[in-house]
């Protein structure tokens, strides 16, 4: 999730135009979403038990 923020701020600083900045920021949000999904999965404390 942190790397998503780094990509976002880097794209703002290094890229010139609005379309390219928007594209990179959306990619950064996708990275953050992936990080969130991984974090959420690791925190699921109720595991489904198989039916007997």
């Amino acid at each position: 999730m942190l790397s998503g923020s780094v990509i976002m701020l880097s794209s703002l600083t290094l890229l010139p135009g609005l379309p390219s900045r928007t594209a990179f920021c959306l990619a950064a949000l996708a990275v953050q979403t992936l990080g969130f999904i991984l974090l959420a999965r690791s925190n699921i404390k109720v595991r489904k038990k198989p039916d007997a």
């Binding site: 999730m1 942190l2 923020s5 976002m8 928007t22 920021c25 950064a28 953050q32 404390k45």
Partner: protein, 412 residues
């Protein structure tokens, strides 16, 4: 505008704190109702003191600045400790009340199993570090300067604290719920969530209605203090707040009616609060039809978000705080980018703001709370949870004269 005007609106914010306290208590079971209200008071007290001593320094308007590719990047405030000689005492008051409000949000997700001493320590760390950092970015730091530094609209807009208060508080609520784990009996052995209804729907609705006053104060005071809005814009903020809340409540009412066959009281109250959260981001900058859309969408979204958090993420969030504050806040911030009339790039500014809050605040909140949990365990033991936090931690129940406690956990 005279200085007493933002001061007057700041004095309305405590109604939001009382409102959230009542909602949290009402959505608890009777066995932990007094603990919930006392937790609200203690968390607010700890947060106010921590912010006054340390946090206000990190949120001070003049910050540490680094240069990135020729652009100024203000990343943290740099004021004196103990709030000495605050340049603008009304801003300090606004932030003190905001942090007291923000710490109410994690209390909702940690209800019925979060120890009183641990929640005070968590609120202290939140007010000393996490809230001031994000509040500085949004109201004085690099996010507010996205317009001047990078040509993105007016920079990140968050007049009433949808990001600084609600999303940050909601992220902490999620972290607390993860660390505490679900209440005993909340999920079956198959992982299916069971209903654990709150004990008093009346105070839930009363708290929601009371919160309206607080959110009017947040939206109006924030508009004056941070965006220097004139009187018509402040009036628009107040009207939009009321209209969005009404749309949110009706949206949730109809959605629950269609989805479940009957309207649901707590979800409708959640729709009202979620709309308040969403519209607070850009209340002074929206037109009435846009406020209706923001509120209505918030009321509909919250019904599905509560189900998603519970059934998919398997997070036990008794009052729906994660959905109401995090998802509602993010929707409101995005809506500003979609509707507010500014120069181009406003939507990107809002995206960058949301990305920075989520991407930096969530790992920090997780790390800090995990460390505290290691030394000061958050979760009460099994006896305390079974007995109820009122008897276990306070020695007396909220309703001692007519309430009998019995073992009502079913083996699942």
């Amino acid at each position: 505008m005279p200085e007493f005007v933002p001061l007057f609106f700041c004095l309305l914010i405590p109604f939001a704190i009382i409102g959230l306290g009542l909602i949290n208590a009402g959505l608890n079971r009777t066995r932990s109702a007094a603990h919930s209200m006392l937790g609200s008071m203690c968390a607010a007290s700890a947060a106010v003191l921590a912010f006054a001593i340390i946090g206000s320094s990190l949120a001070a308007p003049h910050g540490h600045i680094i240069q990135l590719a020729g652009k100024q990047f203000a990343w943290l405030g740099a004021g004196p400790l103990f709030s000495r000689n605050p340049e603008n005492a009304v801003v300090l008051l606004f932030e003190l009340l905001s942090v007291a409000l923000a710490v109410q949000i994690p209390l909702a997700s940690g209800a019925e199993r979060w120890r009183l001493s641990a929640l005070c320590v968590s609120a202290t760390s939140f007010a000393a570090l996490q809230f001031p950092m994000v509040a500085f970015w949004i109201w004085s730091g690099f996010l507010s300067q996205l317009g001047t530094n990078y040509g993105l609209g007016r920079g990140f807009i968050d007049a009433g604290g949808a990001g600084a208060i609600q999303v940050v508080g909601g992220i902490n609520a999620l972290v607390i719920a993860w660390l505490l784990g679900p209440r005993h009996g909340k999920f079956t052995s198959q992982g299916i969530p069971t209903a654990m209804p709150g004990h008093n729907a009346v105070i839930v609705v009363a708290g929601s209605l009371l919160a309206l006053l607080g959110w009017i104060g947040l939206a109006a005071a924030g508009a004056i203090l941070f965006y220097h809005c004139d009187f018509p814009a402040v009036l628009a903020a107040i009207i939009n707040t009321l209209i969005a809340a009404s749309s949110g409540a009706l949206g949730a009412l109809v959605t629950t009616r269609i989805k479940f066959g009957k309207s649901d009281t707590s979800l409708t109250a959640n729709g009202w609060v979620c709309a308040l959260v969403a519209v607070s981001a850009g209340a002074p900058f929206l037109k009435i039809p846009e406020a209706i859309i923001v509120g209505l969408a918030a009321g509909i979204i919250v019904v599905f978000a509560v189900e998603l958090v519970e059934a998919r993420l398997r997070v036990d969030d008794p009052a729906g705080a994660i959905s109401v504050h995090t998802i509602g806040g993010m929707w409101g911030l995005l809506a500003v980018g979609m509707f507010a009339e500014t120069s181009s790039g406003q939507f990107l500014a809002q995206l960058v703001g949301i990305g920075c809050i989520l991407g930096i605040e969530l790992p920090i909140a997780y790390a800090i709370n995990s460390a505290i949990n290691h030394f000061q365990p958050y979760r009460v033991d099994k006896t305390g949870e079974r007995q109820g936090l009122d008897l276990y931690e306070l020695g007396a129940g909220a309703y001692p004269e007519f309430m009998t406690h019995r073992e009502d956990f079913l083996r699942r």
